[in-house]
Amino acid sequence: MKRRFITLGRIIHTGIVNFIRNVSLGVAAIAVMVVTLTIILFSVIANATFANTITQITNRVDISIYLKDEVTPAQASTLVAQIKALPNARDVRYFSKQAALDRYIQQSDNKESLLSAVSKTTNPIPATILVKPTDLNKIGNIITFLNKPANAALQSDQPSYSGDRKEAIDNITHATNVLRRIGVVAVAVFTVICALIIFNTIQMAIFNRRDEITIMRLLGAKTSYIRGPFVVESIIYGILSAVVSLLIINSAFLTSSNALQASSLGLLDIGYASEYFAANFWKLLTMQLAVGILIGTVSSVIATRRYLKFKVR
């Protein structure tokens, strides 16, 4: 048992020493691994950001239903109750003529002049029902309900809803899907490239140390003892690459938020993305380390299995 710990310690130590001695050999492997891990990290952050943007926009979308002045409060509350019963209505609120006016003034830019203008005449704003949908893509059933003749008769105007926002959401949903697909393909491709380069690096390292390996074998070293340091070296590649990928994304946020200030990079909300990055830093670091170590371990185990075969003639 004690010997096992000593041996494990020696394997790790040898791996670290070999890594330092052969940094130049590992540069290619680390570079590709950094790219792979950066793509993964970017995809995860972008995914979360897009999801957030969609929620944000959905929250802001509402349908306004304008009631005729002659609609009685009883009729209005019946209608409100009916809308509330619709499956896609998340939040339904009724504003009387006065409340709707107050709200309108609240939302306007030049309150002063509006106030004086309104006070001189009668209230031009109709009583309004505001409906927030659960899912923007299923807004149709609410509209169909409102357009029924009995319900249309109560309304002074067509219900209005923010069509441009739906378009924005469609765009983002589309972008998310495209990004997911690109992300998956890019991660797969780069992981394979990464594994191949680690293969190659280990093959070269084994070739460089072939005399040493022969001697180790003759002196009775087990294959695991010979293989261990190569695996440790690849794990170090993984750890370094994970850290570097986080540094890259971090500095990308720093430069882009300096350059663009609060503006967004196309559809990507940089502000939220960097917030998400900061809030989930440790989680993301753990994820990156796990992925980096996994890639390093799996490819080095396969490579050493292949190139360190022990066969007596």
Partner: protein, 227 residues
């Protein structure tokens, strides 16, 4: 301890066998010298014992281990029981004298403390005290040979195989090496030594196995070197 039964080894069919139906029985704690002209098959014989090579035919049993039943994954454990001084030393060029000897202990999981305790003792036995920090390329041929011997005996193996351990040494140092082997043998290690050195063979008065063209030409106790 060592049993060979009609063991042959052919590297290359076109060149014929390097060992041809060798039979040999070595008792525990015995000291056996294998002599023979260059190319007679001495190193080949030793390589079969350390499982560097597989015999083309024949049976080998060492310390109760039947080589026909030995799995590849158990070869390291076999090699840990046998100390070998290679004809070409096989020292690690990027490790110094101390590290080269310590290496044999490291790969079997001996603690640092124990290594620090054992290695200097062994270096003292081969007269290399004070040269611990030298790199192999900074050593004379004889000094390198003694490092190889130190590495072979540091694990106190039950069997010691020494392939031409005096090849590069002047008579005085050659004799020092032989005295080390005799000492180890006295402590109970079976020793198998190959050499060209007539004087040593004659002085040792031990069992001598003569190989000729891959065959055992003679096998005599208390023998002189005769070819």
């Amino acid at each position: 301890m060592i049993l060979l039964d009609r063991v042959s080894k052919t590297y290359n069919k076109a060149l014929g066998p390097s060992l041809d139906r060798i039979s040999l029985h070595v008792e525990p704690k015995e000291f056996v010298i294998v002599v023979g002209q260059s190319g007679a098959g001495k190193t080949t014989l030793l390589r079969l014992l350390t499982r560097e090579e597989r015999p083309t035919s024949g049976k080998i049993i060492i310390g109760g281990i039947d080589y026909d039943k030995l799995k590849d994954k158990d070869i390291p454990l076999l090699r840990r029981k046998i100390g070998v001084v290679f004809q070409d030393f096989k020292l690690l060029p990027n490790k110094n004298v101390f590290e080269n000897v310590a290496f044999a202990l490291e790969i079997v999981g001996v603690s640092k403390k124990e290594i620090k305790h054992t290695v200097p003792k062994v270096l003292d036995i081969v007269n290399l005290t004070g040269k611990e920090k030298r790199m192999p390329q900074e050593l004379s041929g004889g000094e390198r040979q003694r490092v190889a011997i130190a590495r072979a005996i540091v694990r106190q193996p039950r069997i010691l195989i020494a392939d031409e351990p005096t090849g590069n040494l002047d008579p005085k140092h050659a004799w020092d090496v032989i005295k080390v082997l005799e000492k180890i043998n006295r402590y109970g290690t079976t020793v198998l030594l190959t050499t060209h050195n007539v004087e040593i063979v004659n002085k040792l008065k031990r069992r001598v196995v003569t190989l000729q063209h891959g065959k055992v030409a003679s096998d005599r106790a208390n023998a002189d070197y005769k070819i």
